[in-house]
């Protein structure tokens, strides 16, 4: 866990020697209460961790520090679940339009999804260990689903994965329309970086895309850029050396 490096410290139990902004009053046998409003909310476990880390040395020398006990499970809720809006959206797609969903049902499904991910990942991870591999692959995940009873997911997911891989190879192969160079600047190889939203818009279904985009751009380059493009007014000559940004230079 990158951001919560100090997470399994015991944020609310360790007193701070120096009283700056945050004052923690340890009580015997129960959770100490932090008096700042920020620290009292679960969502600021990260703040507590930072404070704790800074005061590690000091805390060790204080007699008040109790022997480490299992902390309450202080995880930021937004980190351990899928965003509820996404979950709700998927649910609504399935339900008839007049259906309503209670709030606790939404939360329950949200929690179930996280549990599902953990469940499958655990099995996939075990397989990787058995085969002495370090990386959990997509195949491991699909295999684990089959093993754990989700057989009817295996085929759609395998198909999904192969289409995804095709779209990735299509995107990165060199014979594609140069227009896609514009797109490819933004896209990491896995498309997992920030702007992965737009990544897949242009990748797949190349059979559809080529004539459309090629045609589109021919028109655009001819009329829009004026004299800027290499190859000038002749649209046919543009494509091999086409630089979408030439007009902006």
């Amino acid at each position: 866990m990158e951001r919560q490096a100090g997470f399994n410290n015991y944020p609310n139990k360790l007193p701070r020697p120096s009283s700056s902004d945050l004052v923690i009053h340890p009580r015997n046998g129960s959770n100490p209460v932090a008096t700042t409003p920020a620290a009292s909310s679960l969502n600021t476990v990260i703040n507590n961790n930072n404070i704790t880390n800074k005061n590690n040395n000091n805390n060790n020398s204080i007699g008040q520090q109790k022997a480490p006990q299992p902390p309450p499970c202080v995880i930021r809720e937004q980190d351990q679940y899928m965003p509820i809006a996404n979950v709700i959206r998927i649910m609504r797609r399935i339900l008839p339009p007049h259906a309503k969903i209670s709030d606790d049902a939404k939360e329950t499904v949200q929690e179930c999804v996280s549990e599902y991910i953990s469940f499958i990942t655990g099995e996939a991870n075990e397989r990787c260990h058995r085969e002495q591999r370090k990386t959990i692959t997509a195949e491991d995940v699909i295999w684990a689903m089959g093993k754990l009873g989700f057989d009817n997911y295996v085929e759609p997911l395998t198909l999904f994965l192969s289409r995804y891989r095709e779209s990735e190879t299509d995107r990165t192969s060199t014979h594609k329309e140069p227009i896609l160079r514009h797109g490819m600047m933004d896209y990491g190889p896995m498309g997992l970086s920030g702007p992965y939203g737009p990544v897949f818009n242009m990748g797949p279904q190349q059979g559809f895309f080529d004539p459309m985009i090629g045609g589109y751009f021919r028109d655009g380059s001819g009329s829009g850029s004026g004299s800027g493009s290499t190859g000038g007014s002749s649209s046919q000559a543009n494509l091999p050396a086409f630089d979408p940004f030439s007009q902006f230079k």
């Binding site: 679940y81 606790d104 995940v141 190889p189 997992l192 992965y196």
Partner: protein, 122 residues
Amino acid sequence: MRQAGAYSGLVSASMSGRMGPHSLPLARIKKIMKKSGDDVKMISGEAPIVFSKACELFIQELTKRSWMVTMQGKRRTLHKEDVASAVIATDIFDFLVNLVSDESSNDNLAETPSEEMETFRS
């Protein structure tokens, strides 16, 4: 510079999923995967993508089954109890039984997922 529209040409008849932006955030999926065990080290880039689709399928199945319970009760609002009933009635959702029955006490998950898996792995 104008681009082709987001989904033009991307309509795929077979699966409801499109190759477009995934419904679920990949980074969050990865985080949950990592949290599932201490020894989870490296995750390939495709694994969260497969999971995003799988979770969609999972949510759809869970919702469908829960809604059937709701309809049996001649209601129109899907409640947590309907989800719980669907979980109990479905074999492959056994790993969720503790989760839906513990929820009435409304505390965080005290058990680690790996412990639950130990219970349900046969």
